[in-house]
Amino acid sequence: MIRILSTARTEFRIALRNRWVAIALILMAVFSLVLSLAGSAPTGGLGVDRLSVTVASLTSLSVYLIPLLALLMSFDAIAGETERGTLSLLLTYPIARWQILLGKLLAHLAILTLAVLLGHGLAAAVAIATDESSLAGLPALVRLSWSSVLLGATFLGAGYALSSLSRRPSGAAGLAIGLWLGLVVLYDLALLTAIVADGGGWFTTDAFPIALLANPADAFRLFNLTASGATAAAAGVGGAADAIPLWHSLTSVLLWPLAALALAAAAFRKVIP
């Protein structure tokens, strides 16, 4: 336990000095503020409070931003140590490989959590200051916060796995960007194309829900939209999936971090410094 905590403390310190902490906090704060200020303009007619509107747009933003931040923080974690030559010494210490990963995860997850809390806190403050009824949107915001942290954990795990698989940080960075583009951008485009081509057939009814749940980013969006009953209002892929029960997306949101971290541990075990 002391070993894991010491690793986490050291990694946090390194992230602090590499400006990752500052970058994550500023990005989340700026985007959340922009969205909450923009989201409070056209409200009224919908019968929804301002915070709920903000939460809906924050959800769409988080699908892109959280995986990106997580991958940026994690792609260097193993490949960087291999290239610097620090990994061979570290692996001769009496600390298990999963403990090293867990230490790094704690540090990176702490940074993501801080960024999410800061961003969401600012959004809540703006919404509540301008609209008293916004308190009704708080549960949705809390749900968005913890599911964002879980989404971050999933992509941190994926980043560690990619970092273990590639020998160089540059290779790991390439893989990380590829993964982000693939899962967050291209995946949805491919699904939409398939649905349009399918015209309400087997793909739309049977394969599509599974495809959504199989992607951690889509499951995250689906979970937050379903839980706040906003799927009907949401456009795009989220809007096409109001038939999927909440517990399905919840299970996916909960299981993905575990799966990604198990993958990372398996990949890291194979690394020869």
Binding site: I2, L5, S6, L89, L91, T92, Y93, P94
Partner: protein
């Protein structure tokens, strides 16, 4: 006492490259063993296998009755990699505190350790600003953590100035006196000569010689060099009495096989007053080293 480290018929191949072939070696508690060999001889590879960082192709290694890389072995072994590297954003103090925590020791011991290797002044500066020798000292400091039963040091004195080298070997003597075994590699033969108990020479991945320095001298049977300085005017007399001697800058240089050393010395002693001074130069470690390396190459 049983040995701290036992290696038997160890072989390592990297694809086509045979980095190590049939190496057997054991190191006893408190013993200081130097690993010598040309670039690419397999010294670092041998060390990495001992530490469990890379798997052996065949053969067996045991460290304090444990397998390389096992939790028990890692607790017992300290390592200093060649070209020790650390995260440039951390200070020396932070880095050593972290390593102490990883070994289950109190982080408060960090400052005394850094003082021991002469880094107290720079302890709170980032390692990114350190010189090569200073980084090497951080590496030494981390290898001294706890009470390792075996220290595996890959070129520990590279980058250190002469005074620091002396201090470093004094630290090692201290550890060895308390029962720690030390396996170190080096290209600085003269310092190894005086400061280790046993020498192991690797050549192209094979162990070609092993033993104490006197041992190796006897086995190599290299000629001894004698320098005789004559008293004024007696040089021709001496040259006549010692066939084969050649005049080099006022002294007579003479080589003779080990087996005839005493006999030759006797003849010189018989010359009595005519000899002003006599120097006996045994083959140096450099000579032994090239002898064994070349002998293996044939």
């Amino acid at each position: 006492m049983t040995s701290t480290l036992t290696i038997s018929t160890l072989t390592k191949r990297f694809g086509e490259v045979a980095a190590l072939t049939g190496v057997s070696l054991s190191v006893a508690p408190g013993e200081r063993v130097a690993l010598l060999g040309h670039n690419g001889a397999g010294k670092s590879t041998l060390m990495k296998i001992i530490l469990g960082l890379i798997p052996a192709t065949s053969g067996a290694v045991t460290i304090c009755d444990a397998a390389p890389g096992s939790a028990a072995a890692r607790r017992a072994v300290a390592y200093l990699p060649e070209n020790a590297a650390f995260h440039p954003a951390l200070t020396g103090l932070e880095q050593i505190r972290h390593y102490l925590a990883l070994r289950g020791e109190s982080p408060a011991l960090a400052m005394p350790l850094l003082e021991k290797v002469g880094l107290a002044q720079a302890a709170r500066r980032r390692i990114g600003t350190y010189s090569k020798g200073m980084r090497q000292r951080v590496g030494l400091a981390q290898a001294l953590i706890g009470h390792p039963r075996l220290l595996v040091l890959d070129e520990p004195t590279s980058g250190l100035d002469p005074v620091s080298r002396r201090e470093f070997y004094t630290l090692l003597d201290d550890l060895a006196a308390h029962g720690a075994s030390i396996l170190l590699s080096s290209h600085a033969l003269t310092e190894v000569e005086a400061r280790t108990d046993r020498i192991v020479i690797l050549s192209k991945g094979r162990l070609v010689a092993e033993g104490s320095l006197p041992d190796l001298r006897r086995r190599a049977d290299l000629p001894v060099m004698l320098h005789v300085t004559a008293r004024n005017g007696y040089a021709p007399d001496i040259a006549r009495a010692l066939p084969g001697a050649i005049m080099v800058g006022g002294a007579l240089h003479l080589t003779c096989p080990q087996s005839q050393k005493l006999e030759t010395l006797g003849r010189i002693a018989d010359l009595g007053d005519k000899v002003a001074d006599l120097e006996v130069l045994p083959p140096s470690l450099e000579d032994l080293y090239s002898h064994f390396s070349q002998w293996a190459a044939q």
